[in-house]
Structure formats: C-alpha cells, structure tokens
Subunit: 482 residues, 2 copies
C-alpha cells in the first residue's frame, strides 16, 4: 500500500467506520479476479460505502490523494470491466452494502434501486407486486443494478423491452469530482441539455459511480405461449419476425438456433427431445406474453400468426407448447446451447451486433468466410436475431490443443470476425462492453471521430483519471493515461 | 462582415459553388428572427451545404477562421435556439438543401432522413409504405429532422412511442472539429462506450451539426377509437390511465382538460359541442389504435376498459366517438385550446414536467399557489398528463395591460412556477429545450453538478465555441464564453 493509499484508508475508516475499508487480503482476494478467471488484478484495500454521501466523500478524498478507484458490483463482467489494474495502484470500491430498494410502486411502474441490489432480488420484488422488471440474463443471481446500468446490459428480453438504457428512468451517480448527479426523478420529458443519465449508462464506471437508478417495471404476466418453428434460413426467420411484429407487441422472445446446434444439444442433454418431428435447417423459439386477462390469449395469437406464416411459407412447420412443462423444455434447449457448445470443443466467442436487416446474411456469409479463412474451424451463430445480436462462435479444429489454439489462432480469428462486423456497420461489443478485454480492438477499429470524442469526454469529466482506470478508453494525450 | 467571415464565404463559394453561401440580406432576413418574433439576430451570410461532406468542410474552415456557426432547420424553435447572436459574429448554416430521405424500409421499419427533411414529408412517406413515423406536433409543416433530433422533440404521441430520443436509431453528425460521427447504423445493441448518438440528441446543435438520422417507424393504423371521459380530478385521471396501461399498449393519446377550459373552447369555436351531456370538473380525451386487423377492435377495447373504469368509479361518464367525424370533433376541442386561451387574454406559458405520479398534485396545488401569490391571475393546466408534461399557463388579471404585465410580472411569475417545478423534482424544459430563452433560468436553478458537467462536455468537444454560440450552456471559465 502506498503512503497515499494508507492515508486514504485511514481517513475513510475515521469518517465512516472500519466496515467501510477492508484490508484483509483474504477478504479482498475473490474480487481481484473476474468470474471467468481471465483477468487478475491487485488492490491493497476494498472500500465498501453504505450511502451515496459516503461514495461522494470517498471519491473526493481519492481525487485529492490521486488514488484511482475501481467500482465493482457483482463482479460478473465478461470483459474484465471491474477487475483492478495488476500494479495495485487502485482501490476497489464495492457497492454491495448499498443494496436497498428505496421504492417500488406498482401504480407508477417504477422502482428505485441502489447500485448493489442484485438483479434477481429486484425481479422478485417486482413480481411480489404483480409487476416485472423485464431484463434477464444468466448472472441474475450476482449481477447488480449499478453494473447493469454501467454496462447497458442486454439479455433475453431486449426484443420487446430494449436494453437497460430503455429501462432506466433515472440515475443517481457520484461524478469524478465528488459531486452528486441527482437524476433519479422519472421525467418522461426533460430537455435541459445534454442527458447525463444517458452518458452514464454504458460508461463502465469511467465517468461516474452509479449509486442508484430509477427503473421501469412492466405489467405482470397473465399467461404465455412458447412456440417452436422450423424454417429454411435466417432470412425466412427474420421475415417471420417482421410479419409478427407488424401485428402484435406481445412477442417477447425470438431466438434462432441452427439445426446442427439443436442436434448438439439433444446429444448432450439427456431427456430433451426435438420439438418438431420434421427436419429443418434452422429453428426459432418464440414466446408471446399476455398482460391483460381480457386480451387474446397468447396461444391463440401464436396459432393465428404461425398459421399465416406457414401459409406464406415463412415457416415450414411449427408447434406451440401444450403445457408449461413443454414450454420449459423448449427453453431448456435454448439455455443448454452454451453448455453443449463448450462440451463440443474449445471455441472463441464473440459478442457482436450488426443491423438487424443484415444479420441473416452475416450469419451465413460470415460463418462461411471464417471457416474458409481458418480451415478446420466450425462457425456457429445463434441467439437474439431480432436484436441484431448473435453469439458468433468459432470452434477449434477437431483435435486442436485448446491452450495453444487460443494463443496462436485466437487473436487473428477475433480480428477477422471484428473486421467483418465493422464492414457490416456493426459493433464489436453488443452487450458486454469494452472493459479491458476489447480496448485494443476498440483502438484499432475506431472510428477515429468516435474515439477522439470519447477521450475528450473522459478527459473533461475525469481529468485526473480517478475512476476505473484502464477500462474502455485511455485519456487523451495530455491527460493522464492509465 | 468581418474579414475572416468574408474570406470564409469566399472559400466556401470557391469549393462548393455560389448556392452554398447566401449573402443577399433580403434572402437571409426571414431566418434571423424566430417564428414567434421574440428573438432577433444578425448574420452576414447564410451557408447552405447540400451534403454531409460539405458541412464537414465548412465546420473545419469555420473552426480555422474562428467564425461560429448557427445551425438552423425549420426555424420553429420555441426558445430562440436557432436564432443567431445579435452582433453578427456568427453565420447561419441552414440544412434545408439536405432534404433527401435516403432510405425507407417498411420491412425493417426504419427510415434514414437527412437533417433538412420536413416532418410532414417524412410522415407522408412512411404512410405511403403503410407505416407511421409516430411523432407529431403543430410545426409539422416546417420542423425538420435535424431540429427535431437536436431538441429531442416531444409532441402528441409521446405516451406510447416516447420522445424523439426513443425514435432515433442512429445519428450522423459533423462534430466541432469537422470530423464526421457516422452513427447511422441501426444497432439495437451497441456497447462501445459513451453513446454519442444520445449525447447529440437534445444538444441543440452545440456539440455537433446533425446531418442525418435513422428513425424508427411503427406499423400503420388499421383503425382507431377516440373516447371522451368526464371525471372528478387529475388524480382520478391518472388512476384511469394506470388502469388502462396495465391492460393494453394500444392507447396512444391521453390528454387532460379542465372543465373551465372546455367551456372556454366551446364558447370560442362555433359548432363544437360538449362530448358528454353530464358535467364533470375534468375531462380526458383517449385515443386507442389497432395495427393488427385480427386484434380486438379499439372501439371494443375502449368500451371494455372504460366500462370497468366507470364501475371502479375512476370515471363518471364516458362516450366513444361513433364516427370518424365525431372523433375529429373531439380532437378539435383539444387542438382549439391554445387558440381559445389566447383569445381569453394575455398569459405566460410554461413548458414544464414533473414525475407523472406527482402531476395531479402539481396541477391542483401549483395552480392554486400561483393564483394566491399573484392575485387576479388565473392558472390553467392541461395536456399530456401521462407524460408528466402539462401546459401551465398563468393568465393576466382581467383588464391588465398585456405589454406592461408581461414586463412587470412575467419574470417573477415564471421564476415562481420554475421554483415549484424544481421543488417537485421536475424540469423547467419538458420538450422545447433551453436555447436562449431559458439559459438564465437554467443557470439559476442548476443543479451545480449538472451544469458543471454540461460545461465540461461543451468545453471538451467544442473548445473554440464554434457551434451555436449563446445557446444552452456557456463554456466553462477558461473556455471562450459566447
């Protein structure tokens, strides 16, 4: 611990008590490595403020002392976004003691949750009031509201409800100078200049520490229907989605799965069966939800829409789950892909997006191009077709040594995939952010106008580089480059 | 014209032809005053680039020459946001030659429109393809896409579809250094750091000149139903809205009107009749829209929902327009309020918002407080209850001399209203922006953390103060203060 760090820890303990600064290395250790074990950092202390005022005081003191802070929620970043630098120059700041749901109103469909509230807890609290917080992802048991806001998280309900950005009605955050941005008021219309809430969403804690958010809730589910359809191509799948979207808002999920991936899952997970008896090159899983007891039941809705789709030859065949158990088994296929893919061999995964319209072409041509360029590899694309966001995996050639293949082939394959994404006007980070992992690729792929604006904003709001150093974007020359 | 301005005009004419720089004072004159005649500016030349590349070149040249530019679309700002400074130091830059709809796809529900495209033209183009661009406002025949993006415009369809921010899927803009931000790709998920599109929306041309936008379309209307309900109070009206929102997404408008205002309209506009035979202190106009021919018809939907509302005593009485003509007459009442109010005497109008939940209280208590503080005045609040945004008028005492009353009482009344808004956690600009008109009030009411962040961002991206000087926010001390 440097003298400046030691003094800072003393000040914080003196002001806010011993719980607010943890220095026991064993207590800190679990939070120095990301959950996938890919990034390792070091921090001589972990600060644990309990209130926004404490966060503000800590940021002010840290700024004066020149000690950077790394905010951390559930430590579920996919890109090393919450892992401190390896040199021990920064302190961790965990939000986990700020875990209060300050308000939850089913009347106004809003909740105010502190940064450390865990996603699953918020979802459960909303359900107890007959409402839903419509963002869901695998890390729901650990991921926190502060992290979800700071990474503009996506998940499986984006098709209807959008990413976190669409669900955030207000943000409270401590800015790098220690001032508090009080933006929690849920104003549907507010045109007082640059929208700081929007700027903080997805900023990965580099412009401010999100301490609380006002979040939109949606009506509770009255009933749902889950369908499985087999079809010819991603292009037909997209046409089917368009046809459905033109007729209803009730579809909340639309996931695409190639036939080979379905076969892989069925071979890997005992007890799962193919939903359709007919064979098809591609499959989609569709969920429709009713929130009004008086509205057309979702089963009738999907029967009607899929009937039309089969007549129009968008789909070859379709089945609607006859029971909740069957609906669950359809979803289990989807949720088992990641595990089945892992069992099939080492693969490089890419979290990428392109314009929705272009996704069918990208899935087919991009996959073929990757396989042609890296002989023996197998490209797999599946996921949120309607979000323009697929999981794009490139699996190692059979028999390849995983460790060696990752090191020798990984960077070239990833650059190849990212180049295709950029050529399609897409994003090298659809929902995971940049963090540490994608910083070099962001620097490489620009665009220059964008990078230069990002650096200017970082330099203007955090000239001393106090918040989350080494993530997302380096300060411009002249500012301190973490 | 200063030598620097003259040289700049020569350079631009030399590069892009005579049409690109107008110096005829008569041709410029109409664009130097805002449409309400409240702000008067001066500019020795009006630049009229035809392409994004021309805008970029002009901004670069202007930056080098130190000549500020004032971007202007349809000149329909309500806050003097597109009127140049009075000292002639800046040149106008009109986007009207950039009026191409570059693409419009009913399949993907997206349009790409250049900054100078007029709202009505975009709406008509979408309708020709069986789609809607769901933003509408009085200035639809003049307001341009660039201006609507730059002011995050609202209007009458915000309840269901949100403000411009919700409808913008991509932004192309020339930044103050002359670089082009190419953000048109409609990516539903893109987490590559700070969202520049979001930053440019509502920035009033002070951070970049929006040259084009990708815009979301929604399905065309199959049928609509328009209802009028009478009820006890704004609180009941909000409860009715909540009850409807919990059951359907089909309601696109929900406007509240006090009974005295209805009476005013009926007395002012010949041929209009009260929709209900019973008397009620408050009224709401509700429009529901179907986009799926197979879905429950909106008339049946509103009958069902309003039937429930009357049973639950949220509404006292309600009627659904029996014909399109009757539906139009209900809307005519709403659209005539502004005119009837004007005829009733001089009034100060405030474009304010508070959290939706608090709006019923604000309408009642805020109105009473203003009348008590300024004896003889009459406060009227009506409009977009569901957006937390009402038109809050304070009418002069009977017999007051308009000009004198505006000058002597206006500023104090407006400060009083704004203070109440701030106390309620609201915004002193719901949809019109800050421009020149509200800059002093924004400075007065802060909050400080927000203002200081706004200044830092402006200073970082436009350190020379080239874009739209004198609007929204002054540069921080050290930067040039326009």
């Amino acid at each position: 611990m440097t003298p400046a760090q030691a003094q800072l820890v003393e000040q914080i303990r003196g002001s806010f008590g011993p719980k607010t600064a943890v220095t026991d290395p064993e207590a800190i250790a679990p939070w120095l490595t990301d959950w996938r074990g890919r990034f390792h950092g070091s921090a001589p202390a972990m600060l644990a403020p309990a209130t926004t005022a404490e966060v503000a005081a800590i940021v002010r003191l840290a700024g004066d002392a020149g000690v950077p802070l790394v905010p951390q929620g559930g430590n579920t970043s996919m890109v090393g976004g919450a892992t401190p630098p390896a040199d021990g120059s920064a302190l961790l700041l965990t939000t986990r003691r700020m875990n209060r749901i300050r308000a939850l109103s089913p009347e106004s469909n809003l909740a105010v949750a502190e940064a450390g509230v865990i996603l699953a807890d918020l979802r459960a609290a909303a359900e107890r009031e007959g409402r839903r917080f419509p963002l869901d992802l695998g890390a729901r048991g650990s991921a926190t509201i502060g992290g979800l806001v700071s990474t503009n998280a996506g998940g499986t309900q984006v098709l209807r409800f959008g990413t976190m950005r669409s669900l955030v009605a207000g943000v409270e955050a401590v800015l790098p100078d220690g001032s508090v941005h009080e933006g929690l008021a849920p104003l549907k219309k507010d045109n007082r200049g640059y929208d700081l809430n929007q700027l903080l969403i997805g900023a990965e804690g580099t412009l401010g520490i999100v301490t609380a958010a006002t979040l939109r809730l949606v009506p509770g589910m009255v009933s749902r229907a889950v369908a499985w359809a087999g079809l010819e191509s991603p292009a037909r799948a997209l046409a089917l989605l368009r046809s459905i979207e033109a007729r209803t808002d009730a579809v909340e999920s639309f996931e695409i799965v190639p036939d080979a991936t379905l076969a892989l899952v069925l071979g890997h997970v005992p007890g799962l069966r193919a939903p359709l008896e007919t064979r098809h090159p591609w499959h989609v899983l569709i969920e429709a939800v009713a929130t009004d007891p008086g509205a057309e039941p979702p089963t009738a809705l999907l029967e009607r829409l899929l009937g039309t789709a089969i007549e129009e030859e968008l789909a070859g065949d379709a089945v609607i789950a006859a029971s909740e158990a069957q609906a669950e088994s359809f979803w289990r296929i989807r949720h088992s892909i990641s595990e089945a893919e892992r069992a099939a061999g080492p693969a490089l995964q890419h979290d990428i997006s392109v314009p929705v319209d272009d996704m069918p072409r990208f899935m087919v041509e991009g996959g073929a191009a990757a396989e042609a360029r890296f002989p023996g590899t197998h490209a797999v694309a599946y996921g949120h077709l309607g979000d323009g966001n697929v999981h794009f995996h490139v699996r190692a050639p059979a028999g390849a040594d995983p460790a060696r293949w990752y090191v020798e082939q990984g960077p070239a394959i990833t650059r190849f995939v990212h180049d295709m994404v950029v050529a399609a006007g897409g994003s090298i980070s659809a929902e995971h952010g940049i963090g540490q992992m994608k910083r070099a690729e962001l620097e490489r792929l620009g665009p220059v106008a964008r990078l230069s604006a990002l650096r200017a904003i970082k330099g203007a709001l955090d000239p001393r580089g106090i918040l989350n150093p080494g993530k997302l974007v380096a300060l411009a020359p002249g500012g301190r480059t973490p």
